[in-house]
Assembly symmetry: C2
Homo-oligomer: 360 residues x 2
């Protein structure tokens, strides 16, 4: 380890994203990307944007983009913050609201970037186990927390929490900031964005990466009351005045203006997921009820790591998390119908092989 | 101030970037942008990039871009880090190497983002005054520093420091990490990139915003030994795995591959600057020797704030810093020859008006 590293950086364990293979040999179902292209307006931005504009700084406040997001949700642009992917927005959120003088909590099984942020910013945190049915047990959260961070639907389980449960939490803990990461909520989860108007202790983070096919252009956003949004702006303006480039800002605004495309692509992914879940369950594979663009599946008797290798050898990348309670599971992102038929076929074959082995 | 703000964020004074007017009425000479378009390869990337690629995450390691940068400088890609503008790279650098257990230093007059980073990350710092001739006085820096941060050429003065002075510093303080911000070095400053191979306590940060007309696409980079680069990677991977989007990565690589365009645009800006400096000095305006794409100018007897307002009323934006020793000065970015002729003409007129007033 380099002798110049700061104490914090010496002790970090960085987040490890899913593999991004450089060649196109694989069907990539490991990082929850969308199999469909972004809205046609994105292509138009790329084709028509005068290259000369690149010589000027982008709008540091991303006003046109924030207005397009605000229009989509029927809120005022002052309630919207935009950043370089929801990971950056989350990192800003941890800094804006939580410090070494505070204590925060999140589930033991959730997006594995949360403990990384907490360590990077020296924020004391506790993790609270999910129930056996994978749901979040708010009664297990200690009192006096400065913040609770949730992914809803949760990652990597895909399990959704009803808005009512979050509303009860907001009411019970008015001095705890509840940050709800809705990266996957567009695929059937219940969004708590409407509750931001009523609860000043609620902030919602979303990404364009999944439901808007925008992983490559890095746009995430947060919605909450302007007092909270100001906290994110203060961190941004102390870090990088211009986190969103001009192409990303314009392309993202174009995506938000095209409601029809968004809903039709989203519906396609949901329909594929529902068919896939039925196919897997018919083959005796355990699949959690998913509100996301991925499913969390387990083949009894076969470790998740083995499923990952088996599929990888057959040209399909999925994700496995080497963590207690998750050993038996793999997370499979939704591709096209053809992709998912192939996966379902291969998994069925794996089940038959296992049963053949058992019968020996 | 919102009650949920963290203690750090409550006490922050964010950086204030130069104004980015939404309309095109102004000649913008206030944020050191380049008046010429980026390399033609950037236009080709925008026109030809398949929009569908946006659905996939970009390369988190930006290998093609880092290789293009490495080729340009004749170093190995392992010596290069790329991030979302040099502001993000600097923010990562402060976190990677400096903590609340350390002490760092930088000049009292320099890029005003350095104290903002130090406060955001609770890094104790001292500032050391520039000499009366605006040069950096290393003898005034205390012993036992974990880091010294320099802009070379310095901002907003435009004054360059010879490599030899930095090399002496590196030798004298082997346990101090010296971070040299060469945002403006391409316009005639002496780069210390060649010294990175010999001094393990040196890291250099650069931006594409100025000399490569890339402000709108947000790409900065650092060059240093792989041990130091790893520190930046650890912070990046604990913050945002993918800070550079696919368009920025590809367009930036195209820019680095076009050496001829880079050198010819750079030479044009330098030639404009030299003509502009001569014109101003002929009119009795004080101008520091500039190694940057801007000049720092003072009209004796006229406060810099007045010069800013006078030019603004005539359609030209420049920058003034409301700080001790800088009151009498304005920073003027280099535009086209026509832009600068207009500015020189207006400033000459302002001088004549002042002399007329004095004669009354």
């Amino acid at each position: 380890m380099n002798r110049f590293f700061s104490e914090t950086v010496k002790s970090l364990t960085p987040y490890v994203p899913g593999e991004q293979p450089k060649d196109g040999r694989f069907i990539k179902l490991n990082t929850n990307e969308n199999p469909y292209p972004p809205a046609p307006g994105v292509e138009r931005v790329l084709r028509e944007l005068p290259a000369e504009i690149v010589k000027l700084y982008p709008d540091p406040e991303a006003i046109a983009l924030r207005s397009a997001i605000a229009d989509f949700y029927g809120v005022d642009p002052a309630w919207v913050f935009a950043g370089n992917g929801s990971d950056e927005v989350l990192a800003f959120l941890f800094q804006a609201f939580f410090g070494r003088e505070d204590r925060i909590a999140f589930p033991d099984i959730t997006y594995s970037f949360y403990p990384v942020y907490a360590k990077l910013y020296s924020i004391p945190f506790v993790t609270v186990p999910l129930r056996d049915d994978w749901s979040i047990d708010f009664s297990g959260y200690p009192a006096g927390l400065k913040g609770i961070v949730l992914a809803n639907p949760n990652a990597p389980t895909s399990v959704g929490l009803p808005s009512m449960a979050i509303e009860a939490l907001l009411r019970e803990r008015p001095d705890t900031l509840v940050a709800v990461d809705e990266a996957y909520a567009d695929f059937g989860g219940e969004s708590v964005i409407p509750l931001t108007a009523r609860y000043e202790n609620l902030i919602v983070v979303k990404t364009m990466s999944k439901s808007r096919s925008f992983a490559g252009l890095r746009v995430g956003y947060a919605i909450g009351n302007p007092g909270l949004i100001e906290g994110l702006v203060r961190v941004k303006d102390s870090f990088n005045s211009y986190p969103l480039d001009v192409v990303a800002q314009r392309a993202a605004a174009a995506s938000f203006r095209d409601r029809d495309y968004f809903f039709s692509m989203r519906d396609k992914v949901i329909a594929t997921r529902e068919r896939f879940v039925v196919a897997l369950r018919n083959d005796g594979i355990q699949v959690l009820d998913s509100k996301a663009n991925f499913v969390f599946a387990s083949m009894p008797g076969i470790p998740g790591g083995e499923v990952l290798v088996y599929l990888r050898e057959r040209g399909i990348l999925v994700r496995h998390f080497d963590k207690p309670r998750l050993d038996g599971w793999v997370r499979i992102s939704m591709g096209t119908d053809a992709d998912m038929e192939k996966v379902a076929f291969l998994l069925a074959e794996m089940v038959r092989q296992r049963d053949g082995r058992t019968a020996d």
